[in-house]
Amino acid sequence: FAGLADVSISEDIPVEGEITVPVGSRSPDEDYSTLDEPVRDTIMRDLKAVGKKFVHVMYPKKSSALLRDWDLWGPLVLCVSLALMLQGGSADSKDDGGPQFAEVFVIIWFGAVVITLNSKLLGGTISFFQSLCVLGYCILPLTVAMLVCRLVLLAGSGTVSFIIRLIVVVAMFGWSTLASTAFLADSQPPNRKALVVYPIFLFYFVISWMILTFTPQ
């Protein structure tokens, strides 16, 4: 099915799930080929799909590949790695430190669900899981920022390192918001676009705040 990735469809037709093309000339045996193929092929196909979406996020163009074949593997991997990297922060005896692992998880997933519901209630034509997929994948720049922040903090935690971290986090926050807006804004009615973009902005702002205020012990 690799050749189908280049097929483009008009933006205002809501699609979801996977596209299977019924090709008449196939024999019944070949329809079960994905059961018989080596496990490596199955895994590599999914990994390639996820990797392709990562590339789409880093260079957001108006492509509908992210929307058509949605999957939640990428967001899960990003969420888990972000939550893991946010551990090991300063934890006083009062336990008033940074967010716990579960809190990061809840914020990201609950936030994405609320934003999706919000855009659907405002009359958006995108499907539920497509929107979750886009919002999850667009956390990638912020995960990269978290990685950079941890590396910078290894070098030192003075004012210079703070300024570097601030610049990196702000840049990645802008990138995330622009990337997700590029994918999601088209599915909204035109006079409500700002109403849909603002919660996305708030969502990535909160994640950026968590990344920026991370202080190691």
């Binding site: 300063s90 006083d92 430190g97 209630l121 919660p199 202080t215």
Partner: protein, 306 residues
């Protein structure tokens, strides 16, 4: 008989034509309930009557009831039912926010801006923004106050986000619920002219909280004078929106009950802002060059509003 039937048909045609030509004309129809709200709506759109009806709200409860019943026709377990609460455009939301920040004396927020189209977008996202603004501003303010002290180690204080969320969402949803219940109860005893639906009350409360967002950001300034001036200022603005909304609804009641209701509304609002200031923002140190306001000024704020 045929000619009688033809005559009757002609009459109906004429009536339909008349109605089409002049839709504002008041027609009496016996079995068409859907036409009545249309005519009332048309009547209220005449510019002269607007000014008179603003605060008096005559016939508004009828209009609200009928239009409300007409609008939300989808059953409550369908998605379309909840979509009716998000039927706002960007400019409408901005207008409502503007109306809550610049209250025009004499104009009722609900009549002027909500107009039987209460939305849940504004209250929900204003509360969400307020929660994170207070948490972030509190954190920043504490950071700047304690900066430079050798014993200070910065903590992000993430626990406070959940506390802020619980407080603000409880205020924005439970207080309107209590107020709505109270107004319904009083309505059954005293025939009030103006009555609000639960969603309109939630809407007013939600939009009236908007002024606290810039206030919370300005609370970062570590001067006690500035903070208390901000508390008074924002309380005046959002309190006046609430008072001007709810005074017409309780005015016809027993004088003491009306005053007590409005006083409680303002008191709770003041408690929210003072409580947030006290809990999320550490007091600036006394060695900062700021004139210290005696604490009892805070209590006179509360007693004054009674």
């Amino acid at each position: 008989i045929a000619s009688l039937v033809m005559y009757l048909f002609a009459e109906f045609d004429d009536a339909a034509n008349l109605l089409a030509a002049n839709p504002d004309a008041t027609t009496i129809s016996i079995d068409e309930p859907s036409e009545i709200p249309k005519n009332q709506h048309g009547r209220l759109q005449e510019p002269g009557r607007e000014e008179d009806d603003e605060l008096l709200g005559t016939d508004d409860s009828d209009k609200t009831e009928l239009l409300a019943g007409q609008k939300k026709s989808a059953p409550f377990w369908t998605f379309e039912y909840y979509q009716t609460f998000f039927d706002v455009d960007t400019y409408q939301v901005l207008d409502r926010i503007k109306g809550s920040v610049f209250p025009v004396p004499g104009k009722n927020f609900v009549r002027l801006y909500i107009r039987s189209n209460p939305d849940l977008y504004g209250p929900f996202w204003i509360c969400a923004t307020l929660v994170f603004t207070i948490a972030v501003s509190g954190n920043l303010s504490n950071f700047f106050i304690h900066l430079g002290k050798p014993t200070y180690h910065y903590v992000p204080e993430f626990r406070k986000v959940s506390i802020a969320a619980t407080t603000i969402y409880a205020y924005a949803w439970l207080v309107p619920l209590a107020l709505w219940g109270f107004l319904m109860w009083r309505n059954s005893k005293v025939m009030n002219i103006v009555s609000y639906s639960f969603l309109e009350i939630v809407c007013v409360y939600g939009y009236s909280l908007f002024i606290y967002i810039p206030t919370a950001i300005l609370w970062i300034i570590p001067q006690k004078v500035v903070r208390w001036v901000l508390v008074m200022f924002s309380l005046c603005l959002s309190g006046s929106v609430l008072v001007m909304t709810f005074w017409p609804a309780v005015r016809d009641d027993n004088r003491r009950i009306a005053l007590a209701t409005v006083g409680t509304i303002v008191l709770l609002h003041a408690l929210l802002s003072v409580g947030c200031l006290a809990y999320f923002f550490d007091a600036p140190e006394l060695d900062f060059p700021a004139p210290v306001i005696p604490v009892h000024n805070g209590t006179t704020v509360i007693t004054k509003s009674r």
